[in-house]
């Protein structure tokens, strides 16, 4: 063999080794972490692991999987975990290189061990980005293949829950359905919102007035659905028949689930603008500009509204004391408090537990920051920092 061929072979091997090394370790996160808090237990679906931890002590109970298994890769995980009896249900999401985990996992609340795993029939299906919802009997799992699967964990067939029905849309389902009054309201990337009978999977009506994807979970109040779309409109639609009540144009795509409170709908857009809209008329009451996209749902506790932004900051507003100008704009400094120290992108909905605000972190070694809900000061982090090692005296 010629000398150059040997060199080329060695160089190729080194190149491939370097490329392989790039894929090792924890990959960059590609989907949005989701967190559920149930009593003292916090459940976090974050990148390639699902964690259970104590929200008061930040001590970890378990993680799934216990270690990365390259032969049987799982995750990334995203969406808010759901509790189904003593099983924690999470969905596998979409990875950075286009690969995806097309399973819904049922994990033991006690141990974190896999109890069952759902794979769409025929080994089809794609990513479960948004997590699932449940009415305690069935689990409704929206998939990237455009199907909403209703599965019954009480009926295990061939090691996985039986599919009760499948509802097919025209494109990816990257938002969670809303389950209310025996109906499911599912937005799809095919630009439509579907109302589906939760028992049978039959379509009741569809809303097709949006001109771009709908990835937000609708919110409902007094028979009206409220949701935003990528066509930069916020919609109010009658839940009974899908007729449009009003729509309000905003500056950018809306991917946040709206929060409804005291006659107002709160949501953000991809340009980082937070909106408060009158639920009756759709009129914008006030706006506030963060410095990057708002993806996470705003959260209200008492009279305080909490919003996290991709700009790495957490914002708190006193809803009883919103100081806006004549144009309805709230100045950047007119917040109750701001925490600008977390230094990581924030894309997931925080959870208020007592006087603590738990904020999932999108990337980095710290998975959750616990802040004082009244002041924004840091309280603790999950996982806890490693114990400081004593420096030997010289």
């Amino acid at each position: 063999m010629k000398r150059y061929s040997v060199r080329a072979l060695v160089a190729s091997a080194v190149g491939i080794l370097i490329l392989s090394a790039c894929g090792g370790g924890e990959p960059a996160p590609s989907a949005f972490p989701g967190m559920l808090v149930d009593g003292r237990s916090g459940y976090l679906a974050d990148n390639i692991y699902v964690y259970k931890f104590d929200v008061q002590t930040a001590l970890q109970d378990w993680q799934f999987p216990t270690a990365v298994d390259n032969a049987n890769p799982r995750g990334p995980f995203s969406g808010v975990p759901v509790k189904f009896g003593d099983v924690i249900v999470v969905g596998g999401s979409s990875g950075v290189n286009g690969a995806y985990d097309k399973h819904v996992y049922g994990l033991s609340d006690q141990s974190g061990q896999e109890v069952w795993r759902f794979t769409p029939p025929g080994n089809a299906g794609r990513e479960f980005v948004a997590g699932v919802v449940t009415d305690g009997k069935l689990i409704y799992a929206p998939n990237g293949d455009g199907n909403l699967y209703a599965i019954d964990p009480a009926q295990i067939e061939n090691g996985q829950p039986k599919v009760v029905w499948t509802f097919t849309t025209g494109n990816r389902l990257w938002g969670r359905p809303l389950l209310a009054g025996g109906k499911l309201y599912q937005g799809a990337l095919d630009h439509k919102l579907y109302a589906i009978d939760a028992a049978t999977g039959k379509e009741l009506w569809r809303f097709d007035k949006a001109s771009a994807p709908i990835a937000a979970q609708p919110a409902i109040a007094d028979g009206v659905l409220y949701f935003g779309a990528f066509d930069s409109n916020f919609y109010a639609v009658n839940a009974g028949d899908g007729s449009l009540k009003w729509k309000t144009p905003v500056d950018g795509w809306i991917w946040t689930d709206a929060t409804l409170s005291n006659g107002a709908a709160y949501f953000g857009d991809v340009h980082g603008k937070l909106y408060a809209l009158d639920m009756a008329t759709g009129k914008i009451q006030w706006t506030y500009e963060t410095r990057d996209s708002i993806k996470a749902q705003p959260v209200i506790s008492g009279s305080t509204l909490y919003v996290v932004s991709v700009d790495t900051n957490v914002y708190a507003f006193d809803l009883n004391n919103i100081r806006k100008d004549a144009a309805g704009k709230v100045d950047y400094n007119n917040t109750k408090w701001r925490n600008e120290t977390l230094a990581r992108r924030l894309v997931s909905t925080p959870v208020v537990v007592g006087d603590t605000l738990l904020v999932p972190i999108f990337d980095g070694d710290i998975k959750v920051w616990a802040l004082d809900a009244n002041t924004g000061a840091r309280k603790y982090q999950f996982p806890l920092p490693p114990p400081a090692t004593a420096t030997p005296a010289k």
Binding site: R3, Y4, S5, R7, A8, A11, S12, G15, I16, L19, G23, P29, S30, A31, F32, S78, S93, S94, G95, V96, N97, G98, A99, V129, N171, R172, W174, L189, H191, S211, A212, P213, A215, F230, D231, S232, D251, G252, W253, W255, V270, H271, D292, S293, K295, V310, V347
Partner: protein, 285 residues
């Protein structure tokens, strides 16, 4: 810095790619092909300049080697002599440096518009121009090709990785200037084998859409090479002639072969500025 690159390069390309996709019947492969052609044509003068410069450097190699040998103990004189013969090792780099961000931008625009992950879809939303109506309605782009290939996923049939390897091999082989120096020759041969393997390996886990871009880009590169070949051959002949002519006044023992291989008589060679630059005694100081 990342933001500036986004604003100046990636964002315009992202929006143009979506516009082309809209015009071309929502066919994403066609959109990638058309945008790649537009960009390769726009950077054609730079490509040509870079290839001519590379050829010039390759033709001058024996002469340069001789000068380096003669003045190895006198760095100042060495640099003077090198300058005299028109040696500029960075001559071919500047056009390449300008092209590189454009290609990286196109790569990012494709990755962004494919929006295979939630985070990339969120990023896409931030960068779609609001003043261009209806672009948001194109999302998500139809990423299936011929009903078989999902451009947002790695190609499980390995057709794309194989085509990437083949086209990268031929493209590298054709566009690498011939070298008279044994070491450079070995390096070039090594590169022409290593690059395709590395890109092919990368494509095993990358979205197939990126592979389509890479294949199209390589094919255009190969096409450009054949279209520019007469001009490159002419430049090569001029540089070889100039290099051979240059060797005499320096009194350096130039290997006989390049001299014997002198291209067409000078009278037949159309004078060009690059040839004049390399000529000794000219104003190139």
């Amino acid at each position: 810095m990342g933001n500036i690159f986004d604003i100046l390069v990636v964002n315009p390309m992202t929006n143009v790619l979506l516009l082309i996709y809209d015009v071309l019947f929502h066919n994403y492969v066609l959109a990638i092909i058309v945008l790649t052609i537009i960009i390769r044509l726009a950077t054609l003068p730079l490509t040509l300049k870079q290839q001519v410069s590379s050829l010039k450097m390759a033709a001058m190699q024996p002469q340069i080697k001789a000068i380096q040998e003669k003045y190895k103990n006198d760095p100042q004189k060495l640099s003077e002599e090198m300058r005299k013969v028109g040696f500029n090792p960075l001559g071919g780099c500047l056009p390449l440096l300008i092209q590189f961000p454009i290609l990286i931008g196109l790569y990012n625009a494709i990755l962004r518009t494919l929006a295979v992950t939630p985070i990339s879809l969120l990023e896409l939303g931030k960068h779609i121009y609001g003043f261009l109506p209806n672009l948001s309605s194109l999302v998500p782009v139809n990423s299936t090709f011929l009903g078989v290939l999902d451009l947002g996923q790695p190609d499980k049939l390995f057709i794309i990785p194989i085509l990437v390897i083949a086209t990268t091999y031929f493209s590298t082989k054709l566009t690498t200037p011939p070298s008279t120096d044994a070491t450079s020759k070995q390096t070039n041969q090594m590169m022409s084998m290593m690059m395709p393997v590395m890109f092919g390996f990368f494509m095993l886990s990358a979205p197939a859409g990126l592979g389509v871009y890479w294949i199209v880009s390589n094919l255009i590169g190969i096409g450009q090479y054949y279209l520019m070949k007469p001009r490159l051959d002419l430049a090569k002949a001029e540089h070889a002639a100039a290099a051979a002519g240059n060797a005499l006044p320096t009194s350096v023992s130039t290997p006989a072969k390049p001299k014997a291989k002198l291209p067409p008589p000078r009278s037949k060679v159309k004078p060009s500025s690059s040839a004049r630059v390399a000529k000794p005694g000219s104003d190139n100081k």
